[in-house]
Symmetry: C2
DNA sequence: CCCATTTACTAAATCGATTTAGTGAACCGG
DNA sequence: CCGGTTCACTAAATCGATTTAGTAAATGGG
């Protein structure tokens, strides 16, 4: 026997497909009590499961959204997507998570795939090369929310951290602890997040009258980081403090320190941008800049749902503050 | 203007929908060269994107599979799902990843949702209470592969690690290092994986003529682990070696050690089951039991695709060996 | 040059739901 | 008891593709 459809249920219950459909949509006032129970029983007996494809095709609504994260390996992405999922499940909307691996080609493929599947909206961690695709989405009035990264000229809601301010406080904290030779390590400056963090770094130094040394601005792909750190510590007076731009960079810095036998908190102080689940467990515990990932995910989801329901959206850019969690790694050096 | 459909393309190109459909399916021999280019141009000009819902409804095939992981917070789950996705993308199949949070209710919801969406098959990290649902899937001949955990009586392919053997070697390694008081910490013994690991532990001790002390078999929910460890170290002669059953338990053990000022490698030796990205970066580096997560994911995907294509499957149970990566945390105590 | 085959298409049915317009019977107020 | 309303449904169109059967024109062999 093939798959059970609504027609089978209708026949078994002795009613028309229309009535079964009304039943499934809980519009019970359309039928008598006994009809309702007959349909109920037929469904149970046949173990009928509705076909969402057919339903979605007719309704032009899939009750599904997509989220395309930059790189699922970052804790931040995981936490955001978890929040988005939690929010939508409460509104009977399913979430499909896709990992673009920070690869514009892959991202483009996923956007096309999700739209072909007719998802009702998208949350995107955007990459610059796909700007025209985003413009197209917006032109079509397709519900979309951007996350974490700002692309100029995009007239769509953005949810991001106060990267500049957060980095500023971290650097100010270093300075308060007596540091003057402070380095910042980021991935290549291709997205706004990294630029904003670098700007916060520069501002803090300038305000304190500390010269900005180009050598202390390290930006490279993860794979290149080891040799860049090598260079950084080969100069005449190497940094006494390092800000690592995200969790994956932390791993690299820790690896470098281990290999070179540089003790964190003694050879140099350390702060990381991002939520690191084991930050308080390593020795010494690492000072972190915690983003409000969960709140940001919720907010993005809410903004997306509003668009899907054709509601107006008040502000286009929502910035969330970060929290500096001070631990031993950023204390004054021994 | 509403959404562009195949009818719009057909009209613009001056052909019928059927021909456009043939074009989309690359059956070019059905049309003349110039018709083909006319359709090509119409599609480009209108920026037409096919609707997968309609296509899937007709074809009774979505070219999409689902994977329901036990808990996405485990590194193992992430690596497996990544492998599954990589495999399927090469075969033009999309993968939807769902996180059941080790919650049978949630898992059930996801299975229903994915089936309603008509996915072509499922890879599941199963939980015991949903046994009847799995039996139902198998009875319906629905393509399914189980991962990581074995439920007896399920006549469906299983891909899992050699948990027993791997744990055996880890414990044997402890014994070789002179340990006799060895504890094993796992989450509750509700799934086969944990039972198999416990059995491997027992076997190794028995073979070496070491008495099995119930106190050394710690099983509890993550939230309860701290107090259980407290008890474990309160007994007259506490363990000198601990095997942590997975990555989340490692975090708990490290946290406990930190709080109690017990130094790993001095107060007790440590081995963890699972791939831990920062295992070699903590002090001392932690010995791990590495599962072949990527290979397992690939294999599961392959087995699922075979079922989807109605091919025979040779063996029902595939076990993958683990690798013991020895680092300082499991050396003889100082 | 005629009939058969091939070429290059098209019309219409179909997938499994939703939804709108419509229908017959019961009810009901005046 | 008669016209209007309500009740409890049903028939049929529809969503946007795929696919099968069919057709008109061109080709080609004898």
């Amino acid at each position: 026997m093939g798959k059970i459809t609504m027609a089978d249920v209708a026949e078994k219950a002795g009613v028309s497909k229309s009535t079964v459909s009304q039943f499934l949509n809980k519009r019970y006032h359309y039928m008598r009590e006994d009809t309702r129970t007959r349909i109920e029983e037929a469904i149970k007996e046949l173990n009928y499961q509705p076909n969402y494809l057919a339903r979605s095709l007719k309704q032009k609504r899939t009750s599904t959204v997509g989220i395309i994260v930059g790189n699922i390996m970052h804790r931040f992405s995981t936490e955001v997507s978890r929040a988005v999922e939690d929010y939508f499940i409460q509104h009977d909307v399913h979430t499909i998570v896709c990992n673009a691996d920070n690869n514009p080609e892959k991202e483009k493929k996923y956007i096309e795939m999700l739209r072909a599947k007719q998802v009702d909206g998208l949350i995107i961690f955007p990459t610059a090369p796909n700007l025209d695709i985003y413009q197209q989405l917006i032109r079509e009035n397709y519900p979309v929310v951007f996350m974490d990264r700002k692309l100029s000229g995009l007239k769509a809601p953005l949810v991001a951290s106060e990267n500049n301010e957060a980095t500023w406080s971290a650097i100010q904290h270093f300075i308060d602890q007596g540091h003057e030779r402070i380095a910042i390590v980021t991935e290549p400056l291709t997205i706004s997040t990294r630029l904003e963090r670098r700007d916060g770094y520069k501002q803090a130094l300038e305000e304190n009258g500390i010269e900005i040394k180009p050598d202390f601005l390290v930006s490279a792909e993860i794979k290149q980081i080891q040799q860049e750190l090598e260079k950084l510590f080969a100069i005449e007076s190497p940094p006494t403090a390092i800000l690592a731009g995200n969790d994956l960079l932390l791993i690299e810095v820790l690896k470098f320190a281990k290999e070179k036998n540089l003790k964190i908190g003694e050879a140099f102080a350390l702060i990381v941008f991002d939520n690191i689940p084991f930050a308080h467990l390593v020795d010494p515990p690492v000072t972190t800049i915690k983003q409000s990932s969960y709140l940001m995910g919720e907010r993005a989801a809410e903004l997306l749902l509003k668009q899907i329901n054709n509601q107006k959206i008040e502000a286009l850019e929502m910035r969330f503050p970060c929290e500096l969690i001070i631990r031993d790694s950023s204390k004054r050096l021994k």
